[in-house]
Structure formats: C-alpha cells, structure tokens
Amino acid sequence: MTPNRFRPHVMVLPEDRANSEVANGFLLDPSLAPRSVQVLAEAGGWTKVLDRFETDHIVEMQKYTQRHMVLLFDFDGQENRLADARNRIPPHLAERVFVIGSLTEPEELRHATGLSPEKIGLELAKDCREDTALVWGHDLLKHNAGELVRMRERVRPILFPAPLTA
C-alpha cells in the first residue's frame, strides 16, 4: 500500500540522478511523516519532467485530489524557466504543483556548500522542518523563495505534521 492516495501526499519527479539523490537525502529526515512522500524515477531532462507530468500525472492528479507534485529540475541559469514550467501546468492543478531546483546544477551546489547530494537533501529537509533557510537561502537556491512560500503552506504540513521545534 503506497502513500494512501486518498490522503494528502507528495510525489517528487526529479530531472536526473543528481536531483534524485538530493531527494533521497530529504527522505532520510527522521521527522518526515512515514509514507507521505514518494520520489519517482528520474525523467532524464527538465523538458522530460514537464512532458512526463503532462502525459502521466495530470490525469492522475485529477483523480487523486490529495496528491501534490514537486517537479525537481535544474534551471541552468535561467530563472524564467519557472514561468515556462508553470505555463504547462493546468490552472486547476496549479495550487498542488510546485517547481523547484538548483539555479545551475546540483554539482555546483555540492561544490559551493561542501555537502554531498544526500547531505544537501537532509539539510533542506531540516530547513523545512525548522522553518529556516540556511541552505534554501543559498545563492543557487534562493530563486525558489516564491514556490517555498506556497510549499510551506501546502506541503510542509503533509511532510512534517508534528509541531515545529522551538
């Protein structure tokens, strides 16, 4: 029995292995609600993330109204990629779909932070859990601020339902 499809849950669709490894690290947070999130197989490119979202997930999201999706890909230095991506999300699903990623590539984020991909994921989870922005505020991630505001409201209660730590 997968994350209960009739309860609020999150599915992460990563672009590639590097993004998938960051997501793997996020899943290791000890406070993460069990079975609240599932990381799907990597799509193989940012355009393929959007293609797969359109072909596989729009119909499913309409069927399962508690499903939230995080599209995880690199922005390759183009901040307007967020707008491009959001244009392909049907308006009636827009509230439940989030587009985030590194401004360049996770490899650069790895060098800049000195952390392995899984450690980055763990730190990002900790930021979410504790409502901080130690890693999310990094130059290569801060462009996600708008999406993070939405995720704080919609996704965080699913992933970390326990009261926030002081």
């Binding site: 029995m1 997968t2 209960n4 490894e21 899943l27 290791l28 947070d29 000890p30 899984e118």
Partner: protein, 374 residues
Amino acid sequence: MYHVAVIRRLYVNNYRCLQNFDLPIAGMPSALLIGKNGAGKTTVGSALEILQKIARGTNRVGELVKPKDFTRGITDVPMRFEVEVELNKEIYGYVLAFELPEKFKELRVLEEKLTVEGKAVYTREVAQVHLAKWDQDKIADFVIDWHLVALPIIQLFSPDDPISVFKQWLAQMLILRPIPPLIRGESNEGTLQPNRTVTDLGAWFTGLLASAPSAYGEVDDYLKQVMPDLKDIRNPLVGVESRNMVFQFATEQGSFAIPCEDLSDGEKCFVVCALVLAANSSYGPLVCFWDEPDNYLSLDEVGLFVSALRRGFQSGGQLIATSHNPEAIRKFSGENTFALYRNSHLEPTVVRLLGELQINGDLVESLARGDLWP
C-alpha cells in the same frame, strides 16, 4: 542521543571470491551493494556472518570455514578477516587469519587480535595468546587449541571489558536473508539474535518484547503504516512454554485473526522490517546486513520499504543492503552505493564506489544494459 555503531572498514582476503577486498564504509549509516549475479555481494554477508557466529559462541574453526573456502584453493596464503568498528566513540579493530598447513584437514588460527583505539587487548599467533594489561587485569600468556578462535572464550575483569562490549555488539549484528515461506510465529524462548533466514521470527519478537516492552509501539506503528487494517499483534501462550504470533485485523465490517504463518510472504517481510527497526532503536545501535530486502515486495512498496529502513538507521547503527531492484537502487546514491564486479569466476571481486564511476545516462538503464561494468 546519537549513538554510533558502524563498521568503518571490512577487509577480507583469500575467502571465496574476495581477494584483497576492502569495503570502506566509514561514516555511512546505510550502504548498498550492487552487481551482477556472482559478483560477491552475498559473500560479503557470509564474511560478516563468520564474525557474527564467532561472537555468538561458535569457535571451532572447522564450523566457521572449510578448506574449500580458500579462493580457488590457494592455501599458501592465509584467509584473512579484518573489521574496524566505531563503537561507543572508540575504534575497535579485530583481525582473524586462518591457514591450512600441509596435511591438515581443518584450518587453524594463524593470527588473532583485538585492539581498542589502536591499543592491543589481546594478540595471538597460532596457539599462543598474549593478553595485554588492561585496567586492573594483568598481562597473561597462555596457549589454546589452534583450531579454536579465542574471542568467545576470553573474558577480562574490567567493568567495561572491551572484549565483552565488542562481542556483544558483534553477536547482535543482524545478517538477514529472510525466507518467508519458512517463517512461522512460534517460539519456545526469546532471542535477540535471529538467524539469517529469520525462521525464528517468533522467538525474536518474544525476545524483543521481553528485552524492551516499549518496542511493541514501534513494531505496531510501522506495521499499521503498511497494513492500515492491522489492529494488534498478539503472542499468546499456546503451550506450557510456547507462544504463537497472531495478527488481528479489523475494519468496519468486522475483525479477523491471522496466524503469522498465514501472512503473505511480503507481509512477513514487513514484520521483519518492523523488528529490525525496533531492535535498532531498543537494543541497538546495530549493524544490519540485509541481502536483497526488496525480495517478495510489490513494486509500489519497494522504495518506501527501503527508505524506511534507511531512515531507521540514519541516527544510529548501519544498514548494508544488496539489491538488483531498480526501485531499491534508486533509493541510494552515488555516495553510498558500491558496485561489485568480477571478470570471471577465476578473478576476484572488485569494488568501486558508484560515485566514482562514469555513468552515461540513467543508472538503472545502464545496469540493465550491463554497461556499468568494465
């Protein structure tokens, strides 16, 4: 509180396909071994199981290794096992080497040594054992049968006897390859040391609850996540000293009791997983080697199962898994996945950290094509 109990390094030489084999897993709460059939993944577990059996009391060399276990029959080089463990903030090192002199039918101990922080607790050459000065214990020299491993039979009088600490930890190491069709819930006594196939699941459950009654909560929590209609687990007496696990399920339509042996194979694996997680929390931190934990699971469960296991060992203990399953492989990363390969049955296992390999495109597709291996 964060308790470390991890293997930093496992070195094996001249044992089956493992020649000069070094598995550097320091600082990894969880690691994955991947590789083709016959690459040596399960043999790594067998090497660990030899050390575990010693700590559990098997010290007759002939019951641990056989002459056929020498790599390709090479008997003029010792068979060697070395493990370095971080335990209670100290580094324990254990070395054990066997040899097979001419005209011997059974291997004998060539060398044995236990160190803590580099300081010898005892050393041994063939039959001669030298016990170093430790706390109030005095130096001692004695001989033992060279067909017996010394670790299970030496004891110090120190209150924190490092031999006991190491032995207890090693004995509780979990080496698992469950065979669900053989798993039943009966037990005549409790244990904290389940066997490899977990056919003593009932005894493990009984021992776990006797050791830490609060462990029931963790077992119950996990199983209710994967089987939401589970109401409770019972382990009633069914004889003078025997118990039998029964799983009670309930929905709005009513309730139904299923004995452990009648659970599905995958559901039995859920129970094993629940016990692993609860054991690590309650009497760990433990090292758990699980050979193909994805076996018997439905595809939609594999990733969640592996992630739950990894999360359970993140704050203490160490999980070492093997897998051929794409979903399981995806739940690990280049920093903690080791690729094992052999060119032929005549050549030894080679191990590389996946993150150091050049992978073109999708890892799973590369594995499916067989292109990952040189």
